[in-house]
């Protein structure tokens, strides 16, 4: 089963002909992703790695039945690109682009909801269901098929954690990078809900960081709704208050959103906390 992404996703790439687009179309195909179309206005008729390029999303959907879009366009064109995909009938969107003005993100997150579409990101590495598909820029070589669901607000930190699971022969059902921005489409709660229902997922790993209250809300949700074991790592325990640590999301303000408050909330929900990223794999190994 896996969550949000499997063999049924027919992927169209928006921003397909740039350096990133070309590289990741190749990498996704190598992983087994069904990449059916690319879109770059003005470049219709070309091909990238054997994938036909269209001038707009409507044409791409009409010709290829694409149902999923990977958005790689620059920040200032991202809102337009997401709206176009949603209006063309795309039902799953993965928005990789970083530095999108949050007022834009707010608008497209709500429009996606209105259109009943799943939107992952923005500012995220994407989603991978090993053995099935990968929609995004996550490195394919770190994954292994299995039964651990991973949801994370971070990029490289997730790769590190997934890699350490794979090194211990612990495979994953789906790994989803939710994104580091203050406004994101798919949240920890959405991922938890989907992993709970997924028959291929036996345990869940959450990777959080300081800023916002997403982890605290997830902890509340776990107490009421999740029966599967949950493991977590929180980055930023030693970040000084008020300093921005790269991600717009990683801000500590007014005592809320600190690592302590998140760890406390998770402990209350019986979530096992790792002190080092790679310790997650040790904790999961003991459990399985």
């Amino acid at each position: 089963m896996a969550i949000f992404a499997d063999k049924s996703n027919k992927v169209l790439v928006q921003g397909a002909t740039g350096h990133q687009g070309v590289f990741h179309i190749g990498a996704m195909k190598e992983f087994g992703t069904n990449v059916v179309a690319g879109v770059t206005p003005g470049k219709g008729g070309q091909e990238v790695e054997g994938v036909p390029i269209f001038n707009n999303v409507f044409d791409g959907v009409l010709e290829t039945d694409a149902n999923t879009s990977l958005v790689l366009v620059p920040a200032r064109f991202a809102k337009d690109a997401v709206f176009e995909a949603l209006d063309a009938g795309i039902k799953t969107l993965v928005v990789i682009t970083e530095n999108i003005p949050f007022h834009d993100a707010m608008e497209f997150v709500h429009y996606a909801k209105y259109k009943d579409a799943v939107l992952i990101g923005p500012n995220c590495p994407g989603i991978a269901s090993p053995g099935k598909t990968k929609i995004g820029i996550l490195p394919g070589q770190i994954f292994m098929e299995g039964n651990i669901g991973v949801a994370s607000r971070s990029g490289t930190l997730t790769y590190e954690i997934v890699n350490s699971l794979t090194e211990k022969n612990i495979g994953q059902s789906t790994c989803i990078g939710l994104g580091g921005d203050p406004i994101i489409g798919t949240t920890f709660i959405d991922a938890l809900d989907a992993f709970e229902k997924d028959k291929e997922t036996n345990a869940i790993v959450l990777v959080g960081e300081i800023g916002g209250t997403a982890e605290e809300e997830a902890a509340e949700y776990i107490i009421e709704n999740i029966s599967k074991p949950v493991f977590a790592f929180i980055a930023g325990r030693t970040a000084p208050p008020g300093k921005r640590m790269g991600h717009a999301g990683a801000i500590i303000a007014r005592g809320k959103g600190t690592a302590e408050s998140k760890i406390k909330a998770f402990e209350k929900a019986n979530v096992k906390i790792a002190r080092f990223p790679t310790e997650i794999a040790d904790l999961v190994e003991k459990h399985v």
Binding site: F102, H103, E107, G155, L157, N163, G212, P240, F276
Partner: protein, 366 residues
């Protein structure tokens, strides 16, 4: 980006939002045109300036001159006062609180208002702060405004004025891509006008390109941090003596956390991001050298980024320009074996695990 109070008020004027008559003052010559009594207000990007003595009321020219010299240059929670705003006093009838901010959980703008505005808003209980969330797809509607204003204890005319005020502020919040617009207090004056006595405006950095009229001041950055920002490198100076270079904000934070477990303290947070461009790696090391850490800890996970390319960049900087402190490295992921060989060849210490490298770095920094 946080605007100073006076910059926020300039934006307010653009939206026909009333503010007290006032101007920036450097010396007594600038007092001309202002009526006594007026108030001198330190311009700092942080709250609590009133309690720190950064706001003073003046009665006459002599008094004003003396108080200006007290405020100019004073230190308010780490910020030196370089700008002072002088504003005429207002006859205050009511003090309200009004803000529009971003609710991350609901992913919507949130309007908050209270009749109990003023210095101690943070201790006002939750049931006295009225809230309305605005779905960005429909924008602000009259029912939102009625929902808030009807709960404030206001007279009919006052309600009308405050309603107009809220819709203007919301328009500014959206037009200028704000993360926050806060007015505390929002005054209803003796003659029934609504006036913004203060302004706190934060504009989303990612949207600054749409607002060329806003000039960034980067007032919260150290000189090295400014330099890094110009080069597009995420670089933050902290209190410790270990310089951390990693890729990705999450991994960089996790590296700082790991050091703490061995009683090491991060002195610099440097996030290389997704780059393996040797030029960027070189710039990163140059910045790091200028920050003079006792130890540098390079922690890389190569996903799409190839470890060996980064390692080559590091080797080049170190062999060409030298480095005067130990460098501990820990490399994992894509092409890690080649990378380790390159770094060993450059004379750097390589740790086997994050824990091992964090411990080595912490020990050396002591």
């Amino acid at each position: 980006m946080k605007l100073f109070e006076y910059q926020g008020k300039e934006l307010f004027k653009k939206y026909d939002i009333s503010v007290p008559k006032g101007k920036l003052v450097n010396n007594e010559k600038d007092f001309s045109g202002l009526n006594y009594p007026f108030v001198l207000k330190a311009q700092v990007p942080i709250g609590g300036r009133g309690k720190a003595g950064g706001i003073k009321s003046t009665e006459n020219a002599n008094d004003a001159k003396q108080k200006l010299s007290q405020i100019m240059g004073m230190d308010i929670r780490g910020y030196t006062v370089r700008k002072v705003l002088a504003e005429e006093k207002i006859d205050v009838k009511k003090e309200l609180y009004l803000s529009i901010t971003l609710d991350r959980s609901k992913r919507m703008p949130l309007i908050m208002a209270s009749d109990e505005g003023g210095m101690d808003i943070e201790s006002v209980s939750d049931e006295k702060i009225f809230k309305e969330w605005i779905n960005p797809l429909i924008g602000i509607q009259p029912f939102h405004i009625r929902g808030i204003v009807s709960k404030l204890k206001l007279e009919r005319e006052e309600s009308k004025e405050v309603s107009k005020f809220i819709s203007k502020i919301y328009k500014l919040f959206r037009d200028y891509d704000c993360e926050l617009v806060e007015i505390n207090p929002l005054i209803i004056s003796g003659n029934g006008n609504t006036i913004a006595l203060d302004s706190k405006v934060t504009i989303n950095d990612d949207a600054l390109y749409r607002h060329p009229d806003i000039v960034p001041e980067n007032i919260e950055l150290t000189p090295l941090e400014k330099d890094a920002k110009d080069k597009g490198i995420a670089f933050i100076q902290l209190e410790g003596n270990i310089g951390v270079i990693a890729n990705g904000a999450g991994l960089t934070m996790a590296t700082l956390d790991a050091l703490t477990n061995y009683k090491g303290k991060g002195g610099v947070f440097l996030d290389l991001g997704g780059t393996d461009d040797p030029e960027k790696v070189k710039q990163a090391f140059e910045l790091m050298k200028k920050a003079k850490p006792k130890v540098i800890f390079l922690n890389l996970f190569g996903g799409i980024t190839r470890c060996d390319t980064v390692a080559k960049g590091v080797k080049e900087v170190i062999t060409k320009e030298g480095i005067n402190c130990p460098v501990i490295t820990r490399i994992k992921g894509c092409n890690e074996d080649q990378a380790k060989d390159i770094l060993k060849d450059a004379g750097l210490i390589t740790g086997t695990t994050l824990q091992d490298a964090a411990q080595k770095s912490s020990d050396l920094a002591r």
